[in-house]
């Protein structure tokens, strides 16, 4: 009998080299909610040119949003089982700088078709920078606000849930909430300007379609154009591949834009093997060495430093 015991151990040892690789190749399927493959949806994946033309076909962001909703047959409600997996820490590539349209060709100031008034403002801004004069309205720690929110090169997380999606930017602890529970915007008579506006949306397969209004004016980014408090956007967010979250963005802003501005935004998933990249609380006022003011000639200057000659901290 004891020989049979030994034979069993020998057979087990002989079999291990075959069993272990098979087990490693075929880990148990994840059945937890939120790991589902996204269905295709009804809105087709259009080319950049087709999307730009689509924007021009609609007079307002709201009209475009309603057209997309009709195309998606109203969209589908997410459930715990169909929430897409957008987990990870992402950032916007900065290899082409921080311009609002990441596909802006070198040497081109902007791909936006601006009204004459706003083109003149942009021309002056760029000329001032060449003279060494530049002031950024977020220098006093104000949040960038949407649509500039799309451009900042810091850590990001994207968190879909069945009833709302959180679009998180590390900078100033900035979170855009997109409500997908069927609610409408705030009534027009009760709207007031907000940094990130009011965002509602619907899901079409793995695509999140968003309409944002109730925004306040700002700049798209340094050395980029201005937008006004009439700006509204439509965005289609999706997971483009395992390493990329992408957004098609249409901006409507009649005082500043001669026609809707369509851009593609992409956010790359950061390698984070040791899980060291974590979004921390961002207190813009915590270090007085960062405090700046606008000088009389309109440029930027530090208020003062806590360091310098020996004996001073």
């Amino acid at each position: 009998m004891r020989y049979w015991k030994h034979a069993g151990i020998v057979l087990l040892l002989l079999g291990l080299p075959f069993v272990i690789p098979i087990a490693c190749r075929n880990p148990p399927a994840l059945e937890a909610p939120g790991i589902a493959e996204a269905p295709a949806g009804s809105i087709p994946q259009r080319t950049k040119e087709e999307n730009a033309a689509l924007g021009r076909q609609h007079k307002t962001a709201w009209e475009l949003y309603q057209a997309l909703k009709a195309e998606a047959k109203g969209g589908q409600a997410l459930t715990a089982a169909t929430v897409p997996d957008w987990s990870g820490v992402y950032s916007r590539p900065a290899d082409k700088g921080f311009t609002f349209d990441p596909d802006t060709p070198p040497g081109v100031a902007t791909t936006a078709k601006l009204t004459a008034e706003f083109q003149a403002k942009l021309d002056k801004r760029i000329a001032d920078v060449k003279r060494g004069i530049e002031w950024d309205p977020i220098s006093t720690c104000a949040p960038p606000g949407h649509p500039r929110w799309l451009t900042e090169p810091f850590l990001r997380e994207f968190v879909p849930t069945p009833t709302q999606t959180w679009l998180i930017n590390e900078m100033v602890n900035d979170i855009r909430r997109v409500y997908t529970d069927g609610r409408d915007h705030v009534p027009p008579e009760d709207r007031y300007p907000l940094y990130n506006g009011d965002s509602i949306g619907f899901w079409d397969g793995g695509k999140l379609v968003v309409h944002t209004n109730q925004l306040q004016g700002g700049i798209y980014q340094r050395q980029n154009p201005d937008f006004t408090d009439q700006v509204e956007t439509v965005e289609i967010w999706r997971k483009a591949d395992a390493m990329t979250i992408a957004a098609d963005v249409w901006v409507y802003d009649p005082p500043a834009l001669a026609e809707p501005w369509y851009v593609q935004q992409r956010y790359g998933k950061l390698a984070n093997p040791d899980k060291a990249l974590r979004i921390r609380y961002w207190n813009c006022a915590e270090n007085s060495n960062n405090a700046v003011h606008q000088t009389q000639d309109g440029t930027t200057q530090f208020n003062g430093f806590t360091f310098g000659q020996a004996g001073k901290k």
Partner: protein
């Protein structure tokens, strides 16, 4: 193209891009980005703060007079993406550091690159690469 090669190109792109040089909270107009200065000294304090971190470096001149220079960089998460950790820059750490100086002559600069005694290079701008 291999992923590693693409990553290297992305980092080089960030380093080559003038647009990426601007500091993300405020303009860099007070710095002279056409000039660089290099000093040798030892770390006095590493202020890991948002929106910008400051590396304070004590620099001794030939007469023994100490000036504390401040080198401004991005916040802690961007530095972490560049592989720069608090443990690299404890007070007393000796280093050679290069930056774009202030136009008005005050002892402050944009931190461009630092080299530790063991040769390790610390380049904050590498933290903007997505890889």
């Amino acid at each position: 193209m291999s992923r590693r090669l693409m990553q290297a190109i992305a980092v080089l792109g960030v380093l080559a891009s003038g647009s990426a040089r601007g500091l993300a909270h405020h303009s860099a107009a007070m710095f002279d980005e056409k000039k660089t200065i290099t000093v040798e000294g030892e770390v006095k304090e590493f202020q890991l703060t948002n929106p910008h971190s400051w590396l304070l470096v004590d620099v001794k001149d030939k007469n023994g007079k100490v000036t504390t220079w401040g080198f401004e960089a991005e916040g802690p998460s961007t530095l972490a993406r560049a592989g720069i950790k608090p443990s690299d820059l404890r007070p007393g750490t000796k280093l050679k550091i290069t930056g774009n100086p202030m136009k008005d002559g005050r002892p402050a600069a944009i931190w461009v690159n630092a080299v530790l005694a063991d040769g390790k290079a610390l380049n904050p701008r590498a933290g903007f690469a997505v890889r």
